[in-house]
Symmetry: C2
Subunit: 147 residues, 2 copies
Amino acid sequence: MSTTVDRPLRIGEVAELTGTTPRTIRYYEEIGLLPGAADRGEGKHRCYTSRDVDRVREILRLKDLLGLSLEQLTKLVMAENARAELRREYQETEDAATQRRILTEALEHIDTQIELVRGRRRALAELEQELLEKQAVGRRKLAKLER
Amino acid sequence: MSTTVDRPLRIGEVAELTGTTPRTIRYYEEIGLLPGAADRGEGKHRCYTSRDVDRVREILRLKDLLGLSLEQLTKLVMAENARAELRREYQETEDAATQRRILTEALEHIDTQIELVRGRRRALAELEQELLEKQAVGRRKLAKLER
DNA sequence: TTGCTCCTCACGTCACGTGAGGTGGC
DNA sequence: TTGCTCCTCACGTCACGTGAGGTGGC
């Protein structure tokens, strides 16, 4: 997306880029949904990367589109981090059985999310259909009046 | 949906049928999103019809699927009520010009909602596509391990 | 009469919004 | 130096959740 150099970003820039507010980003850090550098001095500015922007975007997307709570998102993010950590540790060193287990588990999580998305899409498709019928009825009535 | 006789329903039944809680229904009445009979005695039980069930279903659907706030929903419901009232008043008595105006306005509201629904559907379609790609990558890796 | 659901406060919670007062970097 | 954005409390708000104590209908 952004091919610019990866200079450090300020909280206001991240908020702008993700369509949210600085307060929201601070709150996400407060509840442990965003990392928040431990080595930041009291009162010092927070510092972000474009990777953080992607993380925030993803969180907001799942929250808005799927209606997940921040608690659910925290668990989800933690689970993903755990899997990423495992991948790094066991990348080439460990045996194939462990890699299979990790991959299988990751695929199950993806399947769950896909089902959630599909359920929402179906519900929205139904809603659109009903609205289109209402629209058709209204248009027919209007056409009758024009005659 | 329900072909049963239209006997009066209690708040717990409405909650059950709509997948919510009595507290939520009372809250919606409190903020004016649901009507709430004015002639109910202090401490007396609230009484609902199957039409109320439909209203609550519709509210929850728009709230969950489109992410509308209760304030937005209140305005929307009030606008729909106003249009329904106008339709009743001007049904056959008034001139065609007024009817056209009412119909056109209603169609505009429907168009707005359809656009909202379509935007959400597009966003969800993108999300599903990304998840499917992740799934494909995971499955390829797993297949490699099986060999 | 016994349960169950209902009622009305009223305080708690989640996910932030919104100043209040102060410090820091271009 | 002047603005601007940042910082940390801390209280407010929206949409309910959750008892507390009491009344009402099958």
